[in-house]
Amino acid sequence: MSIGALMGIFLGVALVNNLVFSGFLGICPFLGVSRKVDMAFGMGCAVTFVITVSGVVTWLIVHGILAPVGTAIGQPHALDFLKYVAFILVIASMVQLVEMYLKKFFPPLYTAFGVFLPLITTNCAILGTCLYIDMKPETQSLLNAAIYAFGGGIGFMVAITIMAGIREHIRFSDVPKCLQGAGITLLVAAILALAFTGFTGIGK
């Protein structure tokens, strides 16, 4: 597959159909972890890693196990009912691995993340990306799936880091009490989503 087409897939999911601003995925951590830029960037990196690995592993499970076994018994989609269970178990395991790795090699980072690390499992951006890779016709090859997953993660990281940058500035503004926290973050996200709409049409 040409580099151009691969770049197309990458930019398509990182910018045009950004997971947060147009796919509505990963909103909970987007609201929760975007207070400071270094935390946001760290979360973005962790999520990118988990998404990419999970995307590849779930692709392998579908194409390497579920589909071939189904075809062998004459019904290609026979084992589809196991997909969701398999996907979430893979994601949970990947997050466990990341947790153990950080705890052993980067203890201060591990403590800084606190409860947000296991919560990466419930980040819908990860499960969502695995589901989309399974559904979309253009991600039926392993390389495309990996690029798509990686692009999704990068897009999430960009979104959450931009939001953190803005929120650090807003700290010194006079936000009405009822909008502090989630309220103002959502309104800023509305403007950012509007800005990202400018990326549509890059498709061709």
């Binding site: 509505f24 909103i27 909970c28 009912f81 969701y84 949970a92 309220g183 959502l186 989503a193 709409t197």
Partner: protein, 210 residues
């Protein structure tokens, strides 16, 4: 939030109002933004999520004395994933068009934090009656929150409600606020609703504090 004391009815109403999963606890934001572009989508999503949280809570509660602490998250996850798969298959069979519109957000109920939260906080420690009341309350609260957004976004964005056109043609034909059914409108509406809810809660606690 009382767990030992208080009645099942209290548990139920807490889930709908004081502890509303979307507007107070700020959980389950992703489907809240994604499927509220029409009231029909919001209601079906609410129904599906309620089914899953009810089954999850009831089963967890029935098995609560058998579930060992180390594996409890795994068991919660397995249970939730199973019932979401069932809900997804049922929707594809009996409400095909809506399930197409909901897309990947039906399986994404699996990672809706509010469901696993109820299992961890309520179902593992309480009897079936209490867990069921809690699940119904949370489910109803979720559905109501989604419906509020669905109503606002559909009326302003498409001029209709449940696919019945209710605003005049002059508004609908190319002049409706299309942005409301697109992502920026979703963020905007949720931000506004959360702001209003916070304002109501703040003035209530000021008034009732004495």
């Amino acid at each position: 939030m009382a767990e030992e004391n208080g009645s099942n009815l209290q548990q139920f109403s807490d889930g709908v109002l004081a502890n509303n999963p979307v507007l107070v606890q700020l959980l389950g934001m992703c489907p809240t933004l994604a499927v509220t572009n029409s009231l029909e989508n919001a209601l079906v999503m609410g129904m599906a999520a309620t089914f899953v949280v009810v089954m999850s809570n009831v089963i967890t509660s029935l098995l609560r004395n058998l579930i060992k602490p180390h594996v409890r998250i795994l068991i919660f996850t397995l249970t939730i994933a199973t019932f979401v798969t069932i809900a997804d298959l049922a929707l594809k069979a009996y409400m095909f068009e809506v399930s197409q519109k909901l897309g990947a957000f039906v399986p994404l109920i699996i990672v809706n934090c509010m469901i696993i939260c109820r299992a961890e906080v309520v179902a593992i420690k309480n009897g079936v009656g209490r867990s069921l009341a809690d699940a119904l309350g949370i489910g109803l609260g979720f559905t109501i929150a989604l419906s509020i957004l669905g109503i606002v976004r559909e009326i302003l964005g498409s001029g209709s409600l449940l696919n019945f056109q209710i605003l005049p043609d002059a508004f609908v034909d190319g002049h409706s606020w299309v942005i409301m059914v697109l992502p920026p409108g979703a963020f905007l509406t949720l931000g506004a609703v959360v702001g209003i809810v916070n304002q109501i809660r703040a003035s209530r606690s000021k008034g009732g504090a004495a």
